[in-house]
Amino acid sequence: MRTPIAYFVVLSGVLFTLGTLGVLLRKNALLIFMSVELQLNAVNLALVAFSRMHLALDGQVLAFFSMVVAAAEVVVGLAIIVAVYRRRGTVDVDEARGLAG
């Protein structure tokens, strides 16, 4: 391994930022959800990179847990999006303003 660990961490930060931009700029609830997945993956990359740097497996185990939690989160989140679509006929988050004053 001759690649500096910092490269992986900066790449992870860039991917996380792109995910944040997706959450902030997109309107489709499904695309926002995909951007959240991108953020989770970016953090996983940082975890594995630090695990490699510190010669410990704890980071990999934590990344594994975050994958499991992401799977559970996707299942519940998509069910919520389908429920919202059934009720409103759209997944545009700007249309969901029932609580707006």
Binding site: M1, R2, T3, P4, I5, A6, Y7, V9, V10, L11, G13, V14, L15, F16, T17, L18, T20, G22, L24, L25, R26, K27, N28, L30, L31, F33, M34, E37, L38, N44, L45, V48, A49, S51, R52, M53, L55, L57, D58, Q60, V61, A63, F64, F65, M67, V68, V69, A70, A71, A72, V74, V75, V76, L78, A79, I81, V82, A83, Y85, D92
Partner: protein, 190 residues
């Protein structure tokens, strides 16, 4: 140039480009496919970071299960409608871009002061991975992280039940007035 360096510089631009592509695509299916490309790139990074078990899990769980679920829901809800790209909030886009630029600069500076750009991973990870990555992870997982592991299984069951509850069609209760109306309709019909 060492091999893992080549792999990094080949796949890093692909992963960033696929993330940008996901951001810019109007069609949700195209965005999902770009996200799959990004997940595969991250799997390759796991491989050169000596985590072959996570490489396999990433491809099976993320690129396999999660993205199939996403595509299934996109197809279920209809794909023909493009995203409405008009922005209703004033200054949301410039503020978001400024935030993103600031965040990237901040992370770069933090990494530079924290670990430095020249720090290479120390050798000897093979000893940590002895006898193999999957076995070593299993040892850590079932010794030190056994309680979190069990809690995760509870979480998965809760998620499955929650999805069933959210996904069912509600059988609506019939009011007395509706019942009477139905009865009246039946009588007049006969």
């Amino acid at each position: 140039m060492p091999l893992d360096n080549v792999v990094f510089w080949v796949f890093a631009p692909i992963s960033v480009a696929s993330a940008v592509g996901m951001l810019l695509m109007r069609n949700a299916v195209h965005a999902a496919l770009f996200l799959v490309v990004n997940f595969f790139c991250l799997a390759v990074f796991f491989l050169i970071l000596d985590a072959p078990f996570l490489f396999a899990v990433q491809i099976i769980v993320y690129a396999g299960a999660i993205m199939v679920l996403f595509l299934f829901v996109i197809m279920l809800l209809g794909v023909d409608r493009g995203d409405d790209l008009r922005e209703r909030l004033v200054a949301q886009r410039p503020l978001a871009l400024a935030l993103a630029a600031g965040f990237v600069i901040e992370i770069t500076l933090a990494v530079r002061t924290g670990i430095g750009f020249a720090t290479k991973a120390p050798g000897g990870f093979d000893a940590v991975n002895d006898p193999g990555n999957a076995q070593a992870i299993a040892t850590v997982l079932f010794r030190e992280y056994f309680l979190p592991f069990e809690v995760t299984s509870v979480l998965l069951i809760i998620a499955a039940i929650a999805t069933m509850v959210l996904g069912q069609r509600k059988a609506r209760a019939v009011t007395q007035a509706e019942l009477r109306a139905m009865g009246a309709a039946k009588e007049t019909g006969v």
